[in-house]
Amino acid sequence: MRTIKLPDSVELPTLLDPFDQQEPSGPDATGIYDFYRNLAEGDLTTTKCKDCGKLNFPPVIVCPNCLSDNLEWVRIPEVGELYAFSVMALGVPAIIDGYAPFVVAIARFGNYPDEGIQISGIIFDSKYEELKIGDKVKWEIVEIQGPGEKKRYWYCFRKI
């Protein structure tokens, strides 16, 4: 599993930290905490409306299609297709700037748009020149270490 180490010396993370606080409770709680819990357990998931069937990404607590809050978590298919990509070199959040440049991509998973999603993600392990539209990619989990002992989770793409 790929690891990103955030500097411990940034004492005041919320202004500088591009990652959500990802808390299940307390003032930093998020109603989509299950997304992060599932990431920690190795699954990239999102919400699907049980009333109208709409698949949303990012996950939501209210369906934007029918306003239902009757939602379920569904796993995003592991393998998708590279839709577009480029390179991120400037303007990376300062605390993860050390990882740039890297490939930024959009990939489609499932049957977009009706029964699939289109999401952004970083590709760490391929160079821009090695990629082409239509390549198969899979998502995989990233561990975000720090600040301090804190561990959070995210995802990236890998060409297969």
């Binding site: 005041l12 919320t14 202004l15 606080q21 930093d28 709680a29 998020t30 109603g31 209210v62 306003l67």
Partner: protein, 398 residues
């Protein structure tokens, strides 16, 4: 010009919420749409968002399209976020009103939201330093509590206002807040409790101050034609005035106990709407601190200058008194999520006009209401008027 009405209102519970900024948006959105069953969301052509500092509190900007996406709204006329610190919500309503009045928009969602509580409260509080001039007053720690404390000190100095009178404002607003299930604080308090609570910035104690709050509120505005299709209980906008006293920095404030900007705003408001305090059934005013409400009694013409303390002491601002002020519990009870507050006030007006509030905080038969916000260190004052009766003609200008 077309008449404009609020046709629906929705709100989240205010408080230290276990909810993200986006959660709050979705909750308020669902609430306002649930309040408007006749509405096809496709008819919403415009979106006005009130938000003060999502850039710092939740590290997000360009928030209006985010709200649109979360609520499935397909804007085709006007969309933007409005910021004027503590009055961002009211200012967003004003723009929606103008847009519908001209005919550019027909049906608009106005949503105000702020997420102010995090696990790092010193940092969240730091974000208030830049509401004033961050380069000159910010380094001196010039945020709202010490500033309004100095306002109170000057008012006490000039007019003999007492700490007990300040406390009575909280007592009244806590009484009404105790009957408001959406309020952050729903408990009555005594004068002794207010005076004995933790000192924040003397003479203001914890209970003299409104809180850092998470919350969202939303209203749907519509043209007269659309309003008829959507509700039987439209709340008509009577217009409003707004004033700034050429001030942002301490040097321009002059005498702190005189809010000349509000005096001028009130004069413009009464002149444009033809209203006067005796024609207003209740007022939702910006009691960010107890002293604010006392000065607002005076500058809004509810009583003579300097007699605001006496006004609350004699119970004149209670329901049944000379004019009911903050029957919704005010900012003191509801808390003050900056972008949401002005829209929470409009929500209160809608609920009052419909009679959908508990009996003991209901202003019986209320037909005309005013809402007031100040922003920042009272640098600006903003007023709007609402009525159950459709105005014959709205005077926009001179």
């Amino acid at each position: 010009m077309r008449n404009v009405a609020i046709v629906a209102a929705g709100i989240t519970k205010f408080g230290v919420r276990e909810a993200s900024w986006k959660d709050l948006v979705q909750e308020a959105g669902k609430a306002v749409f649930d309040d408007c069953p006749n509405l096809d969301r496709k008819d919403i052509d415009s979106l006005f968002v009130g938000a003060a500092q999502p850039e710092r509190w939740v590290y997000q900007t360009h928030v209006a399209p985010l709200v649109a996406e979360l609520l499935g709204i397909d804007v085709r006329r006007v969309i933007a976020r409005t910021e004027i610190a503590c009055a961002s919500g009211q200012a967003a309503i004003r723009y929606a009103w103008l847009s519908i009045a001209t005919g550019l928009s027909d049906v608009a969602l106005v949503l105000g939201v702020e997420k102010m509580n995090t696990k790092f409260m010193p940092l969240s509080q730091t974000c208030m330093v830049n509401v004033g001039n961050r380069e000159f007053d910010g380094p001196n720690g010039f945020t709202a509590p010490p500033f309004f404390a100095m306002v109170a000190q000057r008012h006490m100095h000039n007019y003999g206002t007492t700490k007990e009178q300040l406390a009575l404002v909280r007592v009244k607003n806590a009484k009404y807040g105790a009957m408001n299930p959406y309020a952050q604080f729903q408990k009555e308090v005594s004068v002794e409790k207010v005076l004995g609570s933790r000192m924040i910035s003397p003479p203001l104690t914890l209970l003299d101050c409104s809180a850092m709050t998470d919350g969202a509120a939303a209203v749907i505005l519509a043209s007269e034609e659309k309003a008829k299709e959507l509700t039987d209980t439209p709340v008509w906008i009577l217009g409003g005035a707004q004033s700034v006293l050429h001030s942002h920095t301490v040097n321009q404030f002059g005498e702190l106990s005189e809010w000349l900007g509000l005096r001028k705003a009130a004069k413009e408001f009464y002149s444009l709407t033809g209203l006067s305090p005796d024609k207003i059934d209740f007022a939702e005013v910006h009691d960010c601190f107890t002293i604010s409400e006392i000065i607002e009694y005076e500058e809004l013409g509810f009583c003579k200058k300097g007699e605001g303390g006496k006004f609350i002491e004699e119970g004149d601002s209670y329901i049944g008194g000379k004019i009911a002020v903050n029957p919704g519990g005010g900012l003191l009870s509801n808390g003050h999520p900056l972008g949401a507050t002005g829209i929470r006030q409009a929500w209160e007006v809608v609920m009052q006009f419909r009679g959908e509030v508990p009996k003991d905080r209901y202003v019986d038969g209320a037909k005309v209401a005013m809402t007031h916000n100040l922003s920042g260190m009272a640098q600006l004052h903003h007023i709007m008027g609402y009525s159950t009766e459709k105005p014959k003609e709205i005077k926009f200008g001179r």
